[in-house]
Assembly symmetry: C2
Amino acid sequence: MMQRSLDPENWEDFRKDAHSMLDDIIGYIERVAERPVWQPIPEEIRARFREPLPQEPESLGSVHERFMNEILPHSVGNVHPGFMGWVHGGGTPVGMLAEMLAAGLNANLGGRDQIPLEVERQVLSWTRQLFGFPDSASGIFVTGTSMANFISILAARFSILGEEARMHGIGGRKLAAYASSSAHVSISRALDFAGIGSDALRKVPVNRDFEMDVDALRHAIEADRREGFTPFFVAATAGTVDTGAIDPLPEIAEIASGEGVWFHVDGACGALGMLSPEISPKLSGIELADSIAFDFHKWGQVPYDAGFVLVKDGELHRQAFASGASYLSRGRALSAGSPWPCDFGPDLSRGFRALKAWFTIRVHGSRKIGQSIAHTCELARHLVQRIEESDRLELLAPCPLNIVCFRYRCNNPDPVNLEIVARLQETGIAAPSTARIEGKLAIRAAIVNHRTRIEDIDRMVDAVLSIGKNIHE
Amino acid sequence: MMQRSLDPENWEDFRKDAHSMLDDIIGYIERVAERPVWQPIPEEIRARFREPLPQEPESLGSVHERFMNEILPHSVGNVHPGFMGWVHGGGTPVGMLAEMLAAGLNANLGGRDQIPLEVERQVLSWTRQLFGFPDSASGIFVTGTSMANFISILAARFSILGEEARMHGIGGRKLAAYASSSAHVSISRALDFAGIGSDALRKVPVNRDFEMDVDALRHAIEADRREGFTPFFVAATAGTVDTGAIDPLPEIAEIASGEGVWFHVDGACGALGMLSPEISPKLSGIELADSIAFDFHKWGQVPYDAGFVLVKDGELHRQAFASGASYLSRGRALSAGSPWPCDFGPDLSRGFRALKAWFTIRVHGSRKIGQSIAHTCELARHLVQRIEESDRLELLAPCPLNIVCFRYRCNNPDPVNLEIVARLQETGIAAPSTARIEGKLAIRAAIVNHRTRIEDIDRMVDAVLSIGKNIHE
């Protein structure tokens, strides 16, 4: 019987290729600032990814060359210090190495008795400590906050409808959920996925700082009760994606507690501010949450993807997801160590996301990561100052954290600012994105990357002014 | 303003550490067969993962040492040729390097105009070709088949209830879904998550080969219609997790088509058999599916996690998931290239899973991967032969693919066979798992790893016989 292993026939040759690949990718990170942030993709490059399924082998070196020449130069560019689009972390070389080790170990963290699960539980216990949650709180890694929000909604659904709904579905129950009008779309999507329907989400108005109006929340809950709805879930946002606004967490917690409603915090953009002593006071009240969703791959700089969901009542969380199956029976040896992560969320096949978070936190230490987070806020304040100093620029929203929304002042500002953002990206100078702020098109600079320097901010501002002038004349 | 980058202060020192980490993990894979498959975890090792959040930095070398000494020796061991538990792939060194590059690039594949998305679309087009799906079919990478099954159920739900249910929820609708009694638990869980309820799943009886009884399926659908239920989803399994049985796909397709019911194939364990000309005839009819869920990290040997969902009607798939949001408005430059993967599933933050699949397929070629898949089936037949040759062993189910369920013959066989599996794992000789086959506890050997050799099978059989004899005497 022939051997059919996919391992290299010659390990020495393989090692040579591997080390050269490692050097190339380290070189990319080390010198990324010399590249354009992003560049338009030539159609001929795009067309090279429309080939039939390759039957025959190709050398590792040759495939790597394609990676270096065709893929790497045409990625989004969020490793680059000039990237300020959407809310993307920059990654770290340490996180990359951890991901390499995780892929070599090839662990599946659905379950079984293995130290990789203890690594995940270690990171869980660090997040408990960070957010002031009890030892009985549960949590798992997921792809991102979209999935973490979904899991939180299912836990909240279980808290009000119990096993009955798991077995028989939502039925005709009239449930209502609440989040501010600035909340992330993943909340209403999660209600859709969960069979509750996106219309169950009441979009509570915000105040002038884009924070949830708590009186409006109170009235919305009252109105729903009068109409026969059962309020079951309120999501506060800790760092909205458009402006970085933090909803008044203690007040929302009090209302939720008084009403017997699940209190969730969507902390995708802001929750890890807890790592910084300067920012954590703004997040006061987060410890009162029933669940928190956040991403290590944003402010935590862990490579994509590394979302996390933390649930205060670990036993309820388990009951909301656990199920039995003959081949998953737990016992001795490899089958020990129950409960497993698959008892706390939908995934049975789960990569070793915990390792890259564990390495990142251990190697850098929480203090230094917190400093890099605080630094992005400092850079945002510098950007605000540059905007306020220029009569051509206009700030469109307050900047409580690291996200700045502004525009170039001119007639017909929407298309002009859209054009400015497109040209910034196309020239590769900087990559902010856009947002709509009270109907106005804003240039949105989300400063998330630990590599971003004051000169990257200045370069972007100078380019906005020069492109704006150019278009305007 | 101080710089706060988390990049290394000294890149040369960092490179040295990085290369030594790479050497260590390559060495692990190269010499994994010399290790025990798995080993029990000493309590003192476990206890080292219960530390408070580290505030201060630690050297990369020291953290790596902890990885080598405390984590790597106590992983599940599915890289090892003697691992036959559950259904785990073995990973490849090539896949590991691709994951390293993906982590360095740190791409988020939720959207934007970037070549990484073209890589994902390239893999999608290969899967279309493999399964005989049209160019209009859509698909995305997900964590695993659990998520792929969930997405398929949401697409099927949309096909019957439309936008109405996305907005207003399931309401009082009586939906019914079908899968064989051998189907994976993730199907009923997905119905629970989707608000339909796990009881909506009719578990259709199986024949003596553990394949769905199609007459029983027909009767179940008729009975539901009489009771006022709306049949909307039938999941055939291509390779059940317990025995590798393949449901009669063409017959189920015909029933589904006649009844206007969505035809899904859960191909977690078996679908990639399409890569082998010897196995693909058994999967005939898979091209008729409305959706297919499968895992590149099982038979495809791509490192965890790398699930995939393929949907025949790409436009319906998009409508079942897409939603608008101001900051996600699509346009020019980075905002071009719509539709994006986030329009086809719940994830907005998505790592670059496609790269490790793309590298694996390009470097090895589809033919060689198919041969390694066929080889695992050949090894399974060898195991069946060894079982049939021994009067102490008994085969508990047919073996159509790569999964063998058997037991040691003796009085009181359940606890004895449970003990045999635990001892096999604890001695590190081999790691099969257990399954319940018609109430009997079976030793289940799922031969998935491309590294597994005939001597690994023989070693496991010899150990079963010797441990059995030992316990029995």
